[in-house]
Amino acid sequence: MAGLTPENLARARETVALYPQPRSALIPLCHQAQAQEGWLTPDAISQIAELVGVSAAEVRGTASFYDMLHLEPVGKFLIGVCTNISCMLGGAYELLAHAEDRLGIRCGQTTADGTFTLEEMECLAGCDGPTCVAVNYRYFPNQDESTFDTLVDDLAAGRLDGDVPCHGTVSRVDRTVTLMAQRDEVLAERAASDRARSERQAAKEAKG
């Protein structure tokens, strides 16, 4: 069971330092930990708890509220099929059934080789071209049974590796760039905005 790597731990500490209250960093740290392992390992949860000063139960409780934070291992590719109204009318349930047959798993399960996890998802905002499918939170709208099969083949063969982020990565920015914000810059910006606010307040009071 893996916790955060030394690099990610250092990064997590930087993230915590960005917030006035350490516990505000709880969810960002969950994303970072998930980007590493694809899911929130119990070790990572304990580490996050220590970093932000809450108990492991509180981290787990918070993370469990969100569908996009995983507390169980997920496959390399997390395939989500939208089943909300537009996609449903466009055949989402049929596609989901097909996906289950194609991957040999039920919705919510992971293939034995750990490659695919299949999930049902809420609206992915691809309503103009149902059915919308997401792979590791990258969108592939307008899917039918045959395009879905092609998608799965491409994924399995690694042909989409450039397009689809590694599993567990929720943030698109995170995939391409490292953490850009510098603590001193953030603090300077915060100080500037505090100053501006107090000036506005003073001006308002002086006025009336």
Partner: protein, 905 residues
């Protein structure tokens, strides 16, 4: 200061008026509607609301109609503060429909397993469904199913199907206990209360979640399937597992104690209990219980009749009295903190008058001297928790007095009280303290002196760095000194921080504080249940009942109308008694519920019982010391006898008697009376009332304190002695009862009846001590030592030993309660990694500890919370095979104990 109080007990300037169901009632500004309606006797159903916790408005059961800018609307009564002129309707058709609907939703997934549920019969969900619910279910679908029950800890089990997600338990854990080890997991209809994998809900307060669960979701392993609520009988009592004096109800079934529940006593425990107090009733039925008198014959303890046991005991004590000129050097008595106040008085009379020895001590070398407990100006828990600044010099209060810890934690978190903690090892309170200064064990006095000095610490010579004081950095001292200087009055909580240092160190610290700030008031904390009551009764050398010295009380007690005689001179303390017994110069030793062989912090304590003294053990359990006694007299335990008890504030509350003592066990006062008869005397006591009557007559402290007073509904939360005036009337408005706050004791007579506060009759904080207004002549006074004890200079190779209490130790109550015994930690020596690295050792290694008590094996553990140069080992814990407990290392005759760890060869 008197505050003008109206009929509802609210200061008038903070009052608003609201209309509830057409009737005008007064409410306090800022309070929630539900507490105003409760006070007015209007019941609003509720689940999540608990009067001792912050509201969350989660369950929606308390919806009422409230007037607003857009007319009447449904609002949660627990979450909306009152406003002047607000109109509230709790019984309209709309409200009833809302209640009906909320209950229907709550019952959607709630199993209908009431007949097999422990909560059935005292269940708020069951009761409120009957009162406000739909009556019939429209739900025909499959309910959700979970594996059940699951273990949250060794004490608490969770049945998730029954949970209604009121968040009482999770809020208690994070808000009140500060142990957020349980939390809601997941969302929507799959929400469950859960722990993190691999963790347990290991909180000293976990049992409270079971107490406040409004359904049968949380159950306690010791009570599971043990009884049905309608079979339970109950009596209100005071917990004596520690000296906090929490109010409880004792519930029994078939003459067996089955359960304790916390009573909402405003000045003390505010409805909470610690797990030790809640679950140690299993010790009543422990295999070690003594139920028949025993005498030693041919080296073995054999059962006998009371008559024979008393005769043998009287013979042994009589022989000891005959050979010595002064009974104080012939007979020693140890213990008494287990007794009720009335028992203690009877024993004091037997010991000091009939036997005539003054060598009696209720303190087993673990508290403060009697003159400090009785003679320092007192502060109550409420006064400590409302003071702007509190100086805490105690062991870890969460281990020693868990509910006092909760009260102080709440005060610190509210921002009302700044806590300054002086300690030698990290404590649970440290998280909430404004300042925590970690000093070298035994050197508190010099730290206190520096904190109250006229100027900041100075360097030895210009340009040099300022040396630390007692191991505390000079800058920390200066900062705290500045903080202290800003407060004119101070309240201090003091206790013996470590059993590996003598009382001298603590007394010196208190003396330094009292010299610098004479107006300081003190809450002296000790562990043993009724130690204060035993001292009040005179079970200590040099004092007589009523907090007076031997000299001060002589005229009263030595008179014919008193006891007839009192000892001529001050006798020995426990330590001296044990030493004298070990040397063979003590003739007889009486153990009053004391187990000095394992429970006295000195490496030589074991020898005391093999020095040839005749030993009588008056005990409920066959403890290690009782096993070596010549006569064992079985005594009744808690809940098997009545009377009163005194907590460390000096607050006197009642003890409830619910079950009969097992076998032939007697109440302690009866044993004293019969033993006096066997010794050819008569104590003159045939009942509790006799004792109370004599005490009221002879002891000014107990004047007016009759059973009539202590059994009155308005003194349920206890009284502080002496009563300021004669009782003029015993009034007290019954507090509106919240049947859902603590399910199971809703029907308790006088439950949560609070005297009008502050009660004019019992105002004040006692009148003893140097600053007491009417301290009687001859009162015990705190005696300041001439100078602090001389400590050995810190030596680079030695570690100064700290032996703190642990809540779960090897005491008879924990060992006798199977569920608690499993939780007791194993005793290891915890040191900083720096000190272990020097020896090339690591956690789990066995090292040789060279101590005043000899060279012994101990298991070590790295703990960087421990300062360098310090070693911490909990007192009276089980240890690994071949190693020794902390007691074997401690030398109580030295001010501190230094040990040296050596690699094993």
């Amino acid at each position: 200061m008197p505050v003008s109080v109206n009929e509802s007990g609210i200061p008038s300037e903070d009052t608003v008026t609201i209309t509830v169901n057409g009737k005008q009632i007064a409410a306090a500004k800022g309070e929630m509607i539900i507490s105003a309606t409760d006070r007015a006797g209007v019941n609003v159903p509720r689940f999540c609301y608990h009067p001792r916790m912050k509201p969350v408005g989660m369950c929606r059961m308390c919806l009422v109609e409230v007037s607003g800018p857009r007319g009447m609307s449904l609002q949660p009564a627990c979450y909306l503060p009152v406003a002047d002129g607000m109109e509230v309707v709790t019984d309209s058709e709309k409200v009833r429909k809302a209640q009906d609907g909320v209950l229907e939703f709550l019952l959607v997934n709630h199993p209908l397993d009431c007949p097999v549920c422990d909560k059935g019969g005292e269940c708020p969900l069951q009761d409120q469904t009957l009162a406000y619910g739909p009556g019939e279910s429209r739900f025909v679908e499959e309910k959700r199913h979970w594996a059940k029950p699951i273990e949250l800890s060794d004490l608490v089990l969770l049945d998730r199907e029954r949970c209604i997600q009121c968040a009482r338990c999770t809020r208690f854990a994070s808000e009140i206990a500060g142990d957020p080890l349980i939390d809601f997991f997941s969302r929507g209809d799959s929400t469950e209360v859960a722990i993190a994998p691999g963790e347990k809900f290991t909180s000293y307060f976990s049992g409270n979640t079971v107490q406040i669960c409004p359904v049968g979701a949380l159950t306690a392993t010791p009570y599971r399937f043990a009884a049905r609520p309608w079979d339970l009988e109950q009596v209100e009592s005071t917990c004596t597992s520690c000296a906090t004096g929490c109010r409880v109800v004792v519930q029994s079934s078939s003459n067996q104690v089955i359960r304790y529940l916390g009573v909402d006593s405003d000045p003390v425990n505010q409805s909470w209990l610690c797990d030790k107090g809640r679950f140690d009733f299993e010790a009543h039925r422990a295999g070690s219980r003594v139920t028949v008198p025993m005498v030693r014959e041919g080296g073995e303890l054999v059962e006998c009749t009371w008559a024979e046991a008393l005769r043998k005991a009287a013979e042994g004590i009589g022989r000891a009295m005959e050979v010595a000129s002064d009974p104080s050097s012939a007979v020693g008595v140890i213990g008494g903190a287990r007794l009720a106040n009335e028992d203690a008085y009877a024993w004091a009379k037997l010991v000091k008058s009939v036997i005539g020895t003054d060598s009696v001590d209720a303190d087993l070398g673990d508290g403060l001297p009697a003159d400090a407990v009785l003679g320092l100006p007192k502060a109550t828990i409420d006064e400590v928790c409302s003071a702007p600044l509190v100086l805490v010099m105690t062991p870890d209060l969460r281990e020693l007095a868990p509910i006092l810890f909760l009260r102080l934690k709440a005060a610190a978190q509210s921002g009302r009280t700044k806590v300054i903690e002086l300690t030698s090892v990290g404590t649970a309170l440290g998280r909430y303290a404004t300042e925590t200064l970690v000093y070298r064990p035994g050197e508190a006095a010099s730290l206190v002196a520096a904190l109250f000095a006229d100027s900041d610490p100075k360097p030895l010579a210009a340009g040099m760095e300022i040396p630390p004081i007692a191991g505390v950095a000079a800058s920390d001292v200066a900062r705290t000194r500045a903080l202290l200087a800003g407060f004119s009055s101070a309240v201090a909580v003091v206790g013996r921080p470590s059993l590996a240092e003598s009382t001298e160190a603590t007394v010196a610290a208190v003396a330094a504080l009292s010299a610098a700030r004479p107006e300081t008031r003190y809450l002296t904390v000790h562990r043993r249940g009724n130690l204060h009551g035993a001292l009040d009764a005179g079970l200590a050398p040099g004092i007589l009942p009523g907090r007076v010295t031997l000299e001060g009380g002589r005229s009263t007690f030595a008179a014919e109308s008193g006891w007839g005689r009192v000892p001529a001179s001050t006798g020995m303390s426990t330590h001296e008694i044990l030493r004298s017994a070990a040397q063979g110069s003590l003739g007889a030793l009486i153990l009053l519920g004391a187990d000095p062989v394992v429970d006295f912090p000195d490496h030589e304590s074991e020898k005391a019982l093999s020095g040839g003294a005749f030993v009588v053990a008056v005990t409920a359990h066959l403890c290690e010391s009782a096993r070596r006694a010549d006569v064992v007299l079985p005594a009744a335990m808690y809940a098997e006898r009545g009377g009163t008890t005194t907590n460390f504030e000096g607050r006197v509350t009642t003890l409830g008697k619910k079950v009969t003592p097992p076998g032939q066990a007697w109440e302690d006062w009866a044993i004293a009376a019969e033993l006096a008869t066997a010794l050819g005397s008569d104590l003159g006591f045939t009942s509790f009332d006799d004792i109370a009557a004599e005490r009221t007559r002879l002891v000014p402290l107990f004047r007016h304190f009759t059973p009539h007073i202590w059994n009155a509904p308005s003194t349920r939360d206890g009284v502080l002695l002496p009563l300021a005036t004669a009782p003029v009337g015993l009034t007290g408005a019954p507090r509106a009862l919240d049947p859902v706050a603590t399910p199971g004791i809703g029907s308790l007579p006088h439950h949560a009846v609070r005297p009008p506060s502050p009660s004019p009759l019992f105002a004040g904080t006692g009148t003893t001590g140097p600053s007491g207004a009417v301290a009687s002549p001859g009162a015990v006074r705190f005696s300041r030592p001439a100078s602090p004890p001389d400590l050995p200079a810190p030596d680079a190779y030695s570690l100064r030993l700290v032996a703190p209490y642990r809540l779960y130790d090897c005491g008879t109550h924990v060992v006798g309660s199977a569920h608690l015994a499993a939780l007791a930690p194993v005793g290891t020596v915890r040191v900083n990694h720096y000190d272990l690295d020097r020896l090339g050792a690591s956690t789990g290694d066995t090292l040789r500890a060279v101590s005043p008590g000899g060279s012994h094996q101990v298991v070590v553990e790295v703990d960087d919370e421990v300062q360098r140069g310090t070693a911490v080992m909990g007192f009276n814990l089980a240890v690994a095979e071949g190693s020794v407990s902390a007691r074997s290392l401690i030398d109580l005759s030295a001010p501190v104990t230094d040990i040296r760890l050596e690699a094993h060869r």
